[in-house]
Amino acid sequence: MNSGLYRKLRWFAGLCMAVVLTSVVQGECAPAKPKTGGTLTVGMELEFRGFDPLKANFLGIADRNVIMAVEERLFDMDAKGNLVPELALSAKPAKDGKSWTIKLRKGVSFHDNTPFNADAVVSHWQRLLDPKNRYFARYAIEPIDTVQKVDEFTVRFLLKHPWAPFKNALSAPQSFAVFIPSPKAIKEDTLNRVPIGTGPYMFKEWLPNDRLTVVRNPNYWRKGKAHLDSVIFRPMPDMQARFASLQSGESDVIQTDRGASIVQAREDRSLRIYTSDTGGAYNFLFNTSRPPLDDARVRQALAHAWNQDLLLKADYKGTLPLAKDPFGGLINCGDSAYRQYDPAKARKLLAEYGKPVELEMNHTNTPRGKEAGEIMQRLFKEVGVTLKLTPLAEAQLSKRGIGGEFQITGWKMMDFEEMGPLLKGNLSSDSKLNFGKYQNPKMDALLIKQEMISDPKERQKALCGVAKLINEDAVFLYGGGRRFHVIAKAGVKGIDNIRHGVIRVSDAWLDK
């Protein structure tokens, strides 16, 4: 074979290879075009609480998913902390930082044809800010003094003082306040059962304990979103049943925090796991107002007797991160004086205390609650502390926790990216939400400081100070960081972003 022909053949083979590789790469990497149609069935852990902020009080994980499909926020927030316009166009702070002017989007209507405008935004926010209405999470928006209408499509938020977390208060999807409902639904007092917003999907029906169905909004203002015909949200409290429903095909997506299911799903090629880390933590609250937990030495001893790592391995099969502070990696506070598992130190502190320690812990009557309780009971026994376990239904546990009727109780710190307002609510001496009755002037000063200052570095320093003091004083024990898991069939697309456990169905589509 002469060299010319050989070169030509080589060139031709190379060209063929390049064509094949290009097509393979395109097939693998290029984002597929969303397909329209189909019904997505989502398995949730709990029944929905309702959608009126004044009646449902707070958004559970299940409610967040529904409200995100039906109602919209003024802004979303990206991973870098920038506001991303939704129903608003822009947000501009005043020079003194004590007010924000927000321009609203024109030409948007609620599902009941009520126009979206400044009146809708003002009436919603003022309803929540009015102390007479006793909005459950008013502590989280307390620095907002009032909301005024500037013109038909402009509103102004007046603050009591410059407030760094304001952008989060406008966008955090775990907060009821950020979702703008139809003023007509509020007026007619139907919002709690029939959520009406401007979102990509419209409420169709809610059959208690069975399903909540939403259908595509044909007039949705954002073109190219809402690909599904409908979405069915189904409460399935039994985790094994929920996982089985995914495997057998009745559900397309489920939410879970059970380690065994997540590990099992990892081995199943037909399933995809999506995770999202955030602030907050699972924790065990101490009631610091009653003996023996009013003595810091006892709490510190229990913190050294506790082995969070063991809990995460045994109960969650390593699917949750270790928590040393409430910031979930969003702020780097280093070690935060975290008290490591050290039974010898625990025994020494208990010996200093000098009296026998007998305690009772409330936990949920769920498998995770029982397992955590039993691990704690065994670890405390090793250092000579008797722990009696009291399993309770979720509602009773919350009630006793809120009412201060506990010595130790299983608890959850909400999953905010901006933890300042929640920490202030939970740890300030005079706060009604300080369920552990923790009192420390040093902590109060740090909490006020983090709220008042705008400089990010100084603020972070103050927040890290709070985290350190939590561990030094052993205000509570950590039971793992907040990490959300969603397991989906491989054919479910567009749900990569599950921040705060929310499946954003506006982007979801089915590749079936």
């Binding site: 208690p208 069975d210 094994q240 929920r242 057998s248 009604k432």
Partner: protein
């Protein structure tokens, strides 16, 4: 004349059952009242003042004595008003109406499956008592009875839903979406209940049938050359059904609010789940309404069972007629 006496007996029974309903609902009312929870605080939300709580208690009538509140509730019930759920604000009647069909269908299918298993098995094992077939059936029956129904349920889900993909693992499809889809969703939960229930039915039927087959009139029928199937089904079965019917009635009644585990595993929106959720939420109008429904169903089924006795044995009707 005879009809009049029968009517009197029925009225007496109904009156007795009414007293049962009153007693149960009063007891539930008192127990709900004694729950260690403050419903006013629940409704008022965090941060409520004493005045707020008093206002809510006044509005809901919670500051009245429990007996007065019970009488008021009873009066409303007589007018067909069950009130609204505190948690969902839906009328209690509507909640019951949406959950009852699920429970009734589950109950009907599970009892049908239990009967289909228990009747032939009971008859055959009584006729062939002590045989290998009797022993085999007994072993299978005890194996079923010794497994809790949730274990059976999970096992069936693994087999029929996950391995063979024949039936759905969870969920309820309303009849309006098609009979086949609806029945598919109920097969596993109904079987999970039936596989435990049929054992008791089979055992009581077998025992009673064996006793009946030793009666003199059965011996006479055999001597007269009456075919075996006729002796069993016509002469022996009917008088052997008393305990069977009683147990069937009790089982059916207990399933109205008692299938909560199966309803939870299969995510069925039935009365059991409704009641448990209402208790957890301390939603007392819904608790009262659900308990009332369960009690009414219980007494009604037992009333029907009592009437069945008369149908099964005409001698009982005569005893009743004679006072």
């Amino acid at each position: 004349m005879v009809f009049g006496r029968a009517a009197t007996v029925v009225w007496k029974k109904l009156l007795h059952l009414l007293l049962v309903v009153l007693a149960v609902t009063l007891l539930t009312f008192v127990m709900t009242d004694r729950l260690p929870a403050d419903i006013a605080a629940e409704i008022s939300g965090r941060g409520a003042t004493a005045a707020d709580l008093a206002e809510v208690r006044e509005r809901l009538g919670l500051n009245r004595p429990v007996l007065i509140r019970y009488a008021s509730w009873l009066g409303d019930v007589c007018l067909g008003r069950l009130g609204n759920s505190l948690a969902t604000e839906l009328p209690v009647k509507e909640s019951l109406r949406s959950h009852l069909p699920v429970t009734l269908e589950l109950l009907f299918l599970s009892q049908l499956f239990a009967l289909l298993l228990a009747l032939p098995a009971g008859i055959i094992t009584a006729w062939r008592a002590g045989s290998r077939l009797d022993r085999l059936t007994g072993t299978f029956a005890f194996a079923c009875a010794s497994l809790p129904n949730y274990v059976l349920a999970m096992g069936m889900v693994m087999l029929f839903s996950l391995k063979f993909k024949l039936l759905p693992a969870t969920g309820y499809t309303p009849l309006s979406a098609g009979l086949a889809a609806n029945l598919k969703g109920f097969l596993l939960p109904a079987l999970a209940i039936a596989l435990v229930e049929w054992v008791i039915l089979m055992r009581v039927l077998r025992t009673d049938l064996i006793a009946t087959l030793k009666e003199d009139y059965i011996l006479l029928a055999r001597c007269k050359g009456v075919p075996a199937w006729r002796i069993l089904l016509v002469h022996a079965l009917r008088p052997s059904l008393f305990t069977f019917i009683t147990v069937l009635g009790m089982q059916t009644a207990s399933l109205i609010g008692g299938a909560v585990i199966i309803e939870t595993i299969f995510a069925l929106p039935g009365i059991g789940r409704l009641l448990v959720n209402a208790i957890f939420a301390q939603d007392y109008p819904l608790i009262q309404g659900t308990v009332l429904l369960i009690t009414l169903a219980y007494v009604l089924i037992n009333f029907l069972v009592d009437l069945c006795y008369g149908l099964l044995d005409p001698r009982l009707r005569k005893v009743a007629d004679n006072g």
